[in-house]
Structures are given as structure tokens and as C-alpha cells.
Amino acid sequence: MSEAYCRVESGALGPEENFLSLDDILMSHEKLPVRTETALPRLGAFFLERSAGADSDNAVPPGSKIELPLWLAKGLFDNKRRILSVELPKIYQEGWRTVFSADANVVDLHKMGPHFYGFGSQLLHFDSPENADISQSLLQTFIGRFRRIMDSSQNAYNEDTSALVARLDEMERGLFQAGQKGLNDFQCWEKGQASQITASNLVQNYKKRKFTDMED
């Protein structure tokens, strides 16, 4: 509340992502393997190895497997499934789901796509028959990992936290930073620095002229 700039938070965990959120824009840029059901005219320029050639309008033939970013796949996906059918990425499938249910803490979620939870929540839009399992798995993974995040964020004061956040995905990192900020603010308050006026972080980079310059 005392911040000068409030960013638009990510809506990816909710029903729909937020248009103005930078995190959502980055998240929806991740690729999704997709199978085309009809020919996609002129997209062959981007997918040269799948293209049907210049004579048939440079189209991508039906039935080919390509990788599209999430925003494009969501836009093209239709319930009557005329244009494409989506395959779930590996980490949301059965094999990895059992890994997560065995022990969620050891998995390096940053490597598995840095937006594991957000991307997974938006995947539920594609009406796959495994939706219930995916959402359960996302939930249980988070529950399993949450306690360690909370513990480490509340007890790592003035230390290098790179080892702690290395295996967290973006949403968990956000939570970790919220915890760290709370801890730092509390320590600041204990030391009595809370009542000192400091420069706002928006203007700290402005190079102000020094007082001596103005005297000349």
C-alpha cells in the first residue's frame, strides 16, 4: 500500500489470465504441442519442415504436429475441434503426475517450464479428459512444496537465497519474495528504520544535480 507502483498481478491461476499482466504475457508465450486438424494456410513459412510447399499456398497440412505458444493455441481452440487438438505437455501427463504425488519437494519446477502452475491452470481450458487429474495434481504439488517455501522465506534474513529459489517456479518465487519482504520490513521496523523517510524506488535512478552545481 505504501508502494509507488502496483503491478497488475497474474490472473493465470484464476479462470482467465489478465490482459494487462506482464507475468501472464510471459507465461502464455510458452509452447504447447498441438496437432492440426485442418490445413492452416500460409503458416508453412514458420514451420518449414512441415510445410506442404509453395504451390499449395504454403500451408501446414492437417494432422501435422507443431508447437504453438499458449495464446495462439487458446485463440484457435474451438469446442467443435475443427482447427487443432491439443496434446498435454509431458509434465502434466500421467508419468510426471505420479512423480509429483510421490514427493513434490525434490522436483526442479523451474526447469519444467518456469510457469508450471499458471500454465497448468490455463491448460484446463482445453477440455482434456484428464482435467480433473491435472487440477488435483497441481493442487497436491503446491500443498507439498508450500511448507518449505514458507519456512525458508521467513527464516533467511540477509543471506544469499539463490540456492533456495533455484528449484521454484515463478509463482512460488513470487510467494518467496512476498515472505522475504515481510521479514525485511519487520526487521526494519524493529530497528526503528520504519519511520525514516527514504527515497522512493521510482526516483532513485534519476541523477539529480548536486547542490554545489546549482550554486555556480
Binding site: N18, L20, Y117, N131, L139, F146, A178, K181, D185
Partner: protein, 267 residues
């Protein structure tokens, strides 16, 4: 400083009735409005009469202090009290302004479609601020990005792009008047399940962060704190009774009308 104040209330047919409040009660009402505003996810009704009375009261106290001769201790204690009241007041106004800035298209839309007789959630100054803010954002987006786009993409629907206030977020509350038959709705949507638990555990983190952060004045322990806490994440449709003095963690949407009427206090 124990003069009584007249608080001008208005009822629906326009005639004004006077409710007499002691300054202590006025400050308590201000604190309640402040805490409700802080913890509610949406912009609540504008309590401009409380704001005006508190400002009058502060001016009064300032005048009295100027007239009194310099006995250091009493004067400095009174000044400290004035600073604290002023802080609560400004924090309340700042909280409202932050929410207006965050949800500006929805706030203006709500004001436009508000039925007659329902109290406004914006004071006249806040309304002017919201309109100017919207106009400035529109101009800014147009000049920076939209006018360089191809002609059919030059509009941004702010009402759809700016996120709505999340009325499903969970809030802590204390019950001040006993309520019966509150309908608690279920979480049936699978996606909502993910949100819901993530939100719940995030709320738990935020409780630690928030208690430290917000400079919360501890609530006066007049009502007995019963150990009656209910936590309802994945509930079916059921009906609960809220006992007086109990504390709950519940979705904001369920109890929004109770907050507006003052029957519960957000903590």
C-alpha cells in the same frame, strides 16, 4: 475534549436525522471503516460523513491546543493523539484511492449503473479523481501505443482488460451482531479449486506478513473471543449461523452485505 458531536445521517426520503456521537465513538467508527476498507477486496461505501466529522474534530483539538498555555506533557500527548488520528484518516483515504486506481473502469461502471437510493461508493472528489484517471490512462495508451497500431486494433476495452476486484477472496471477520442462515456456496469448479487452496495458503502467509505490515491497532477486547473458527474451502451448499463474537475465515462474496450493514467487522 468531551463535547458531543452531531453526526448528520440521512435516510432514504431525504430528511436528515441527527445522531449524536461522542468523539470516542466517532474514532471507533473511523477505525472500523478503516479496517473494513483495508481488508475488503472491493471499494466499500464512502463514509464521507465520518471523514468530515473527524476533520472537524481535529481542527477543534488543534484550536484548543493553541489556546492552552505551554504545559509540555499534556500538549505533547494531545498532539500525539491528533497525529495518530490523522494517520488513520489518511490511511483510510489512501486505501480507497489505491483501490480506485486499481479498479477504475469497474468503479466508474458501478457508479453509472447504480440504482437510485443506494449509497454511493465514491465521494464527489473521488468520482472526479476516477474520471480524470480514466481519461489520463486513455490518452496515455492512445498516444504511446494505440495510434501506431493498424486501424482496426486501435481500441482497448478497459472494462475487460483491467482485472475485476476478486470477490471470491477469503477474508477474516469477527461477528458483531448475531446472524442466522447465511448461505455458503460450494466451490464446484475445478479450476476454482486450485485457486481456492492456493489463495487459502497464501492468506495464511499473508496473515503473518500483514500483522506486521499494517500497523493494525489491536482490537479492543470487549467481546469474548470464542474459539469458534470455521474454515470452509470445499463446502457443499450449506447454511450457517454466525454467533456474536466468533471469528471466521470466509469468502468475501458471502458476507459482503453484512460488511456494508456493519454486522461483521473484517480483521
Amino acid at each position: 475534549m468531551t463535547e458531543e458531536l452531531d453526526l448528520m445521517g440521512q435516510d432514504s426520503d431525504g430528511s436528515s436525522e441527527e445522531v449524536v456521537l461522542t468523539p470516542a465513538e466517532l474514532i471507533e467508527r473511523l477505525e472500523q471503516a478503516w479496517m473494513n476498507e483495508k481488508f475488503a477486496p472491493e471499494l466499500l461505501e464512502s463514509k464521507s460523513e465520518i471523514v468530515e466529522c473527524v476533520m472537524e474534530q481535529l481542527e477543534h483539538m488543534e484550536e484548543n491546543l493553541r489556546r492552552v498555555k505551554k504545559e509540555d506533557l499534556k500538549v505533547s500527548i494531545h498532539r500525539m493523539e491528533m497525529e495518530r488520528i490523522r494517520y488513520v484518516l489518511t490511511s483510510y483515504l489512501r486505501c480507497r484511492l489505491t483501490k480506485i486506481e486499481k479498479f477504475f473502469p469497474h468503479v466508474l461502471e458501478k457508479e453509472k449503473t447504480r440504482p437510485e437510493g443506494e449509497p454511493s461508493s465514491l465521494s464527489p472528489e473521488e468520482f472526479a479523481f476516477a474520471k480524470e484517471y480514466m481519461a489520463s490512462t486513455d490518452t496515455y495508451l492512445k498516444n504511446v501505443a494505440l495510434k501506431h497500431m493498424p486501424p482496426n486494433l486501435q481500441k482497448v476495452d478497459l472494462l475487460r482488460s483491467v482485472p475485476k476486484p476478486d470477490l471470491d477472496s477469503y477474508v477474516f471477520l469477527r461477528v458483531r451482531e448475531r446472524q442466522e442462515n447465511i448461505l455458503v456456496e460450494p466451490e464446484t469448479d475445478e479450476q476454482r479449486c486450485v485457486v481456492c487452496v492456493c489463495v487459502c495458503v497464501c492468506v495464511c502467509v499473508c496473515v503473518c506478513v500483514r500483522v506486521i505490515h499494517s500497523g493494525n491497532i489491536p482490537p479492543s477486547g470487549d467481546q469474548p473471543r470464542s474459539a469458534n473458527k470455521s474454515f470452509s474451502p470445499f463446502s457443499r451448499d450449506y447454511v450457517i449461523d454466525l454467533e456474536e463474537g466468533s471469528q471466521h475465515l470466509i469468502r468475501y462474496k458471502t458476507i459482503a452485505p453484512l460488511v456494508a450493514s456493519g454486522a461483521v467487522q473484517l480483521i
